[in-house]
Symmetry: C2
Subunit: 308 residues, 2 copies
């Protein structure tokens, strides 16, 4: 079993590449839930949904988030009624949030609901929310503490970040499927997807037991750097690194994942800043073919580290 | 001030006709809320919304309910996720329910929310929910008691009706705007729209104080029969009348409204069954012109009864 740790868009694309190579029984994608939030009375799970839609082949290839061919009629109408429409939810996407909220309200765990949704949408690989508990990213900025979506969407990542914390992480537990994976002894390797290390991967590592499980691993673990030429393909990773005085380089990423990874996959553009065990390749995923190629290279690299 | 008592489609069309003739300060539409229900976590108000959409010129002219040019992508997606999609909600319509539910949850009364929605959608006439309290129609049938939407939508009015009750009516009060109307002394007449007398108008009359206010009226009140040729234009009125051993004729309607109306507007097709004070005309509203014409005739008739 290969485990991919993933956030939203970049993580979903990498996970998709892996899913096209590995059979369903050999890949589990563990997804960040710390960006989840309640909005318009709905429980919204940006990263799990992005991974689910991407693996289902339903994701919008341009935007990265949401569904292809989506309509936004409800949001437009909501604006006319004076409602909050700063967080854009597509019409089909709304159904996911409505049905999830209904089932959560009845007491069903998030991970069970997502497993059922994935099955219904034809996703054959396991998409596992990191936890069924409420872990919420709080972004500490020079303008005060902001819940993640406030920082990310409403403020468009503008405020300078001074720190990040994961509220509720101490009281949470890994989701049952994640616990099973950690206890199974069947893990052949872990791939940390090119998601934001601070906002998307850090919360997964903050779930009690996950970091120590990875630190004490008997299997190789690699990360794919989310940076290309010192910049994030998408999102504020490089900006946050600068604000937190971390080099936006492979070195900075390797240092951040110290003790957790055996190798780092970096882009050609960053090869000058390579340090330690690295695989240099093209990490930009423009097409599904790119995802597959990168996944194939990452898996080979992972295997090579096993035999070292 | 003219007050129209209205349910959904037929009531909305009549109210629309009246609204095209009377200036905003001279018409208030009091709407049934006993069909309101909670579905998918949303507070849905079928009749108030139908009246609001119709007066806003946004209603679908064919279906009668919902918005013109509406899409149903959320419902379709909900079906794919195994959600409940027996009650069809359009994408734009969903916004109305979402925003209303959000504001109700914050403690705002339904009538205030609807007044704001109407203003935002350009409705200039007052659309007044009969009550801000929870009054719910329960349809007693040979197959057991059914909440209204279960009877109406899920069971498509198939079970034979043995009685109808309005749960919570005893504890409810007229909405503030309705109370103002009742106490204003400015009412020049009441028009009971061609809505289902048993399912749409009866709940309005069941709100404490409304029936006695109408019985002790100093102004004329007329009803427009919802029957044409012994059949309802839409909905189960005639079927229910048969099941409850009430003649599906103008006589049956007049008897039902005994003591409450001074005259009944009936269709040419039912003229043979006319009884008491009647205006015989064409009551079918196919077009907006029909609505206007019927409204004009109804208002003249109402005025004529004042001078008797």
């Amino acid at each position: 079993m290969i485990i991919a740790l993933a956030g939203g868009v970049g993580g979903a694309r990498m996970a998709h590449g892996l899913a096209r190579i590995l059979p369903p029984g050999q890949l589990s994608v563990v997804v960040n839930t710390a960006d989840d939030f309640t909005h318009l009375g709905l429980h919204i799970c940006p990263d799990p949904d992005t991974v689910m839609y991407t693996l289902a082949g339903l994701a919008d290839p341009e935007r990265g988030w949401g569904l292809e061919g989506e309509t936004f009629n409800a949001m437009e109408a909501l604006g006319k009624l004076g409602g909050e429409n700063w967080f854009s939810l597509g019409d089909r996407d709304l159904a996911t949030h409505m049905e999830r909220t209904r089932r959560l309200t009845l007491g069903e765990p998030l991970s069970a609901i997502m497993a059922d949704f994935c099955a219904r949408l034809g996703v054959q690989h396991a998409v596992i929310p990191m936890s069924d508990g409420a872990i919420r990213t709080l972004v500490h900025t020079e303008e005060g503490d902001l819940p993640f979506q406030d920082y990310f969407v409403r403020h468009r990542c503008r405020p300078a970040v001074t720190g990040i914390s994961f509220e509720g992480a101490g009281q949470a537990a890994p989701s049952p499927a994640m616990q099973d994976l950690m206890q199974s002894g069947k893990v052949r390797g872990v791939v940390i997807c090119p998601s934001n290390p601070f906002l998307s991967i850090a919360p997964i590592l903050a779930v009690p037991g996950v970091r120590s499980w990875l630190q004490g691993r008997q299997f190789p673990c690699i990360a794919i750097s989310p940076l290309i030429g010192g910049k994030a393909v998408k999102g504020p990773a490089a900006k946050i690194m600068a604000e937190m005085q971390i080099d936006a380089t492979p070195r900075g990423i390797a240092l951040h994942y110290q003790g957790l990874i055996d190798g780092l996959v970096i882009d050609h553009e960053d090869s000058a800043d390579a340090s330690g065990q690295c695989l240099v390749t093209g990490t930009l995923m423009r097409s599904v073919a790119d995802r597959e190629r990168l996944a194939r290279e990452a898996l080979s690299y992972l295997e090579s580290l096993r035999t070292v």
